[in-house]
Amino acid sequence: MVEKSRIMDSTSMKRALRRLSTEIAETNQGADDLYLVGIRRRGVPLAERIRDKIEQIEGVKPLYGILDITLYRDDLSTVGANPIVNRTELEEDIDGKTIVLIDDVLYTGRTIRAALDQLMDFGRPKRVQLAVLIDRGREHRELPIQADFVGKTVPTKQTEIIKVMLKEFDDVEAVGIFERP
């Protein structure tokens, strides 16, 4: 895949995550009962970073969890048979909590739909909010899902792919636009 342009480097990513963390803390008036849930894979390290930053700002560590939405996908047959399933880990009951779902890119909204379905199987949160590092814009949305907190909105074509690169998986911290092969 050819990278057409780089829209975030390590510094701008840090800045965006700092702003997202501040907005989440301000909107929810602190970190009490706040439950950050990262969506595998790249939502997980982003959720960890946001949790650390909220702890620095508020002095309280939000609750934390990981969702693996593989078994809730509606496109098992089109992504190829039997995607690898990983664990879902929620450190505490979600009933009555304010959940902030965290993912790297918001595109069609189907991943978030799957995550919401899964969350509801685990309990009844007080409310669920959505934070993403990159929003590809409403024109790509296939479901009525919007983010509450956005690091950067990037209008893209269907033929393009946005890749959030994190040191945990890619040895580099950046966001790039690639042409779909």
Binding site: L71, S77, G80, P83, V85, N86, R87, T88, D117
Partner: protein, 314 residues
């Protein structure tokens, strides 16, 4: 990331690579969490149909497969031999073709003859899962045994595993010998001479020892796997009496003391208490017999998911 298992059917452990076995076990591990939830169900196999075709009576295995299918939101249909057309003279092949025409995604089959799942796999469009075929294999039992061992010992490689009892008739033993030796365990076999097949040495290349006395197999073992005495097969007098079998081969606490202090005890069930296993061992702290049942559901969820995770079953 590599996919753990790319086959359509699960016919036996013999043909699987160690990586495929580990892949199934890893997938099963992620499914254990689902059974501990309040809502024990995920939509992964919604719209898929799974037929449990059992030509031999089985409560535990059939229920385990049925629960596994339902926890993945598949529609499960149970067919037992007494209600099937086979009793009206239909051939096995015709039964299979008729079921196939109803377009199931997966058929789980148990039969008293070895090789039946393999035959069905040749003619069926559905994925075939072997739930036990004669004295040949019982792959999901071996997988759940391996999962139980892995959950408690954290590894399988290098473990000393004693398998005691009726090896000759045991598909559980065969599948376990394949699986455990492929994953690097040392397997010691012990049982009455009439119930230990002579060709075991050619069964696997290494990692297998046939012990002359049960005590030799148990000495220093990390895992003790006791096989059920198949009382229905004892017409041929493989040993004089059940009482004598119990005296010479039954697992008592005294015999278990020969194994390591942290040894675990497995039994595929149903147990003949007081014959192959003493009640105080079966109910003791080292017994993981109910854990095996628990992990059985997770293993079967993983197998059904991997076998029928796409519209074609491929």
């Amino acid at each position: 990331m590599k996919k753990p298992y790319r086959r359509r059917d699960l016919l036996g452990i013999r043909d699987l690579s160690p990586a495929e076995i580990v892949g199934i076990l890893d997938t099963a591990e992620t499914f254990t969490e689902i059974s501990s939830r309040e809502v024990k169900k995920v939509p992964a196999l919604r719209g898929k149909t799974i037929i449990n075709l059992f030509f031999e009576a089985s409560t535990r295995t059939r229920t385990s497969f049925e629960l596994a299918a339902k926890r993945l939101s598949a529609d499960a249909v149970n067919i037992s031999v007494s209600s099937s057309s086979l009793s009206k003279g239909e051939t096995l092949l015709d039964t299979a073709l008729n079921l196939d025409a109803m377009a199931p995604d997966c058929i789980v089959v148990r039969h008293s003859s070895a090789g039946v799942p393999h035959q069905l796999a040749k003619v069926s469009q559905a994925a075939i899962v072997n739930a036990g075929d004669g004295s040949n294999e019982h792959p999901t039992q071996a997988l759940l045994d391996a999962m139980t061992i892995r959950e408690h010992k954290k590894h399988i490689d290098g473990l000393e595993v004693a398998i005691v009892g009726d090896i000759l008739h045991s598909r559980v033993a065969r599948s376990n010998i394949h699986l455990l030796t492929k994953l690097g365990a040392n397997v010691r076999i012990a049982g009455p001479g009439t119930l230990v097949p002579g060709d075991l040495a050619s069964f696997v290349s290494d990692g297998l020892t046939v012990c002359p006395h049960v005590e030799d197999a148990l000495h220093g073992a990390d895992v003790v796997m006791i096989l059920r005495i198949q009382r229905e097969r004892q017409d041929s007098a493989y040993f004089p009496t059940l009482r004598e079998y119990s005296i010479h081969y039954g697992l008592t606490n005294d015999r278990l003391d020969l194994a390591r202090k942290d040894a675990i005890v497995l039994h595929p069930g149903p147990m003949n208490r007081g014959i192959e296993i003493a009640s105080d061992v079966a109910d003791g702290s080292r017994s993981l017999i109910l854990d095996q049942v628990k992990y059985g559901v997770a293993v079967r969820m993983a197998v059904l998911y991997l076998a029928s995770g796409s519209p074609t079953g491929n």
